[in-house]
Symmetry: C2
Subunit: 353 residues, 2 copies
Amino acid sequence: MPASITIALDAMGGDFGAAVVVPGAAIALERRPDVRFLLYGDENVIAPLLAKHPALRAASEIRHTDVFVRMDDKPSQALRAGRYKSSMWQAIEAVKNGEARAAVSAGNTGALMAMAMFCLKTMAPVDRPAIAGIWPTLRGESIVLDIGATIGADARQLVNLAVMGAALARAVFDIEQPTVGLLNVGVEEIKGNEAVKEAGRILRESASEQFAYHGFVEGDDLGKGTVDVVVTEGFAGNIALKAAEGTARQVSAYLRSAIERSLMARIGYLFARGAFRALREKLDPRRSNGGIFLGLNGIVIKSHGGTDAFGFAAAVELAYDMSRFGLIDRIRDSVTQTRPIAAPALSESDGIV
Amino acid sequence: MPASITIALDAMGGDFGAAVVVPGAAIALERRPDVRFLLYGDENVIAPLLAKHPALRAASEIRHTDVFVRMDDKPSQALRAGRYKSSMWQAIEAVKNGEARAAVSAGNTGALMAMAMFCLKTMAPVDRPAIAGIWPTLRGESIVLDIGATIGADARQLVNLAVMGAALARAVFDIEQPTVGLLNVGVEEIKGNEAVKEAGRILRESASEQFAYHGFVEGDDLGKGTVDVVVTEGFAGNIALKAAEGTARQVSAYLRSAIERSLMARIGYLFARGAFRALREKLDPRRSNGGIFLGLNGIVIKSHGGTDAFGFAAAVELAYDMSRFGLIDRIRDSVTQTRPIAAPALSESDGIV
């Protein structure tokens, strides 16, 4: 049996804190029996919840903290008040120390990214981390990045996102040479803003063994799965992600209301309920919960703040699988081989969302 | 009976040209019997198609042109080769001359916008037109702009989009004081890029009788219909639109495949087929075909280039309805009353997509 894999959890993060984190960890433990947890947060809150899950209690250790980051703290506030002593910081620090292989938090994205950068540092020569999501498509799954770590990106930063995203796709999907597309408003070379056009030119001209550059893709290529990796800056990426999630909910609501409107349709629903259950599962956003922080010297996964135990478990399993695959080493190898363009210096505009 | 309304059609625009434009116009004529058409393009192509639709032929006049704009022409090429003499230009010019109340083209967006700006000029004090779309939501419909006229926008331009979008909503939805939201990556005031934050500050502080500023909205608020008007710059707006369209198709494909997988589900489908038909109609992107060019001294509607006759008819009906409502005058009144922020000068970055 392989050695167990330890994951550090920020037990106080998210809209519901430990009330979701603890049962979420319990679900993950059922599916990944060799996972072990370090639970950071208020022992008085965590311990009673853990008492309801004996198997999880046996696989977990509580690390008490008095401080935790609020969902509306600005990154600078969170760093000032929570560095070294908050549950979020200590979960990340456990990765740095080697006590844990990955950290998971449902806490505030900006604070988590700021702390992760401060504690783990970016992987040279990457100057700016990204958040990657796994996007369900008609052909399977794609990696989409950046979905909200930073706003705006110049050509060099877009190229680095392509390198990191391809490295992630190689590791997670086990593809030798993933295809990479740049998200744009059209597929012709004259379309888009200067950063996207220039990044397209660089990627076209610089052949890489690590990935195959496909060209520009448009918003509807996301769901089609036209490429393995879709690269965009965080503003458009975050809006695309939420527009897609919203549309999926909208279509489901239309379907429900169409069926409720007639008796015949309701009878039809009874026959087809297995199919509707399959559809509901397919569309369940909890299944693809978990934003992957890329470009850091360690694995940090951001769970959606409003998810439930089932969704949090998906984020934990993602952290587990990435640890098991040795993702950080594989990304470092890829990134080093592709030699992304080094940064001149961090610019003022590199704000964290 | 009110006087008829004349619409100028670029009969050569789109992936299929007159083969879609002519039957599309015939469908629109059935639903709007007092519409009249000026059909611009190659008479040798248009006349035989028109011969199959006697009612349309009686309501139309062909205006022969030798030149037409290609789908992949750059705006500058299109202007050089097609100004004054192309079917696209002449359809727009008919609006300027007062021969037609609106122009519709399925041709290339960049060329159409360039020609429309050159021929009709922007409505003072608007310096930069936008493309607005009508977005189906769970609550009805919203206006979303810009969906691809221009890339990038500063705070002043975003505020002007809010003013124009609100004017359109007042005219089309007949709402006294539409709600307006700024599309962003979060709803907190600290979120987003500088342009969005600054535009939010301006809109919060400058009360208007023309609309009620709601605050920031996120990608999933589009489908919810949280506000009547969603404002964003064209890059993110275009990507959000196509991501949503792609997701709707993706969910439909999942549903179809879930139902085909079992006999019981297929039996259920037979009972519920009325509901499925209603859903299909609801999701049909042809129904909301038609991008509205806003901020010009005249009505120009861009039809999707790949649509069929049914979709083109929807764009024609949109042009008709906007003419019937006296939209341009109503928008001019709104825009003048709200006094949008005048432009210093057109900047280099104001490129057309």
